[in-house]
Point group: C2
Chain length 156, copies 2
């Protein structure tokens, strides 16, 4: 089933604008995570003018609405990934080709027990993202230089 973008936007109480549709369309077609700047560059092909604030605003709204997911790259920039899957899940991201795979189990439940017993605090949110190389890139042994790893805050 193809996605009904206008409908999706209406459900989020967002107006159906050509640029929003184009952003959604680009994200969905791309199938990888992309940067706001890349979104802008793509939209420049279709629109005479397209402001970066518009791109950032839209990506944020779509993320807030659960249509796209934010990917926190080891380089600490945010990327966005078309992901209308509303079930709680996490992502495996390929650092080379940027493919994203949904992971269907969230293993944080196990941690919650420890948190309840040990910390006795309240969990507000959690970050869980697995970075690596997808099957394809793994085979090719390729890691593009496009993805520097600086300032990363993560475990190896």
């Amino acid at each position: 089933m193809a996605h009904d973008y206008p409908q999706m936007l209406k459900e989020l109480q967002l107006k159906v604008t050509p640029k929003r549709l184009a952003i959604l369309d680009f994200l969905a077609r791309t199938g990888t995570y992309v940067s706001p700047e890349e979104v802008r560059q793509k939209l420049q092909e279709q629109f005479a003018s397209i402001g970066l604030p518009t791109v950032y605003r839209n990506l944020d709204e779509l993320a807030a609405g659960g249509i796209v997911s934010k990917i926190i790259h080891p380089n600490r920039q945010l990327y966005y990934y078309f992901c209308p899957n509303s079930n709680h899940h996490h992502h495996f991201i390929c650092l080379s080709c940027r493919k994203v795979s949904d992971l269907h189990i969230c293993s944080v439940e196990g941690l919650e027990e420890e948190i309840n017993n040990q910390v006795r605090g309240k969990v507000v949110s959690h970050i869980l993202q697995v970075n690596g190389l997808c099957r394809n890139c793994c085979a090719k042994g390729k890691v593009t230089g496009a993805d520097r790893h600086t300032g990363e805050a993560q475990c190896r």
Copy 2:
């Protein structure tokens, strides 16, 4: 056992400088995660001049050496936490008082199986951090305004 900072630094092949010692001492005494700017402010009490690049450099080096951990706050800034625990583990961070609790189980192993079967890729790293309110702050129901949540890339 108190920490032997000079020894720790030597093991990392870092020279033992007064500022490095002061940074380590401050981090260890504080017992919460702190921002680079806060480190600088603290060091200003002891040193006539202290450059922000020095603080950033040292925090990075100490993090690379495994003496401190990077905390990725929902506001997307980095904070640092004195954590010489070299066992693989993750953190529960209190968004209010900034206390950090080590979580002793890493539940990502479960995910690895799914990644092996489904993605068949190679895991390079993962981020796992649980944000919330510690027992104390939970009881007081206090959430300081100091910690805005903007641009967060995480699950609720």
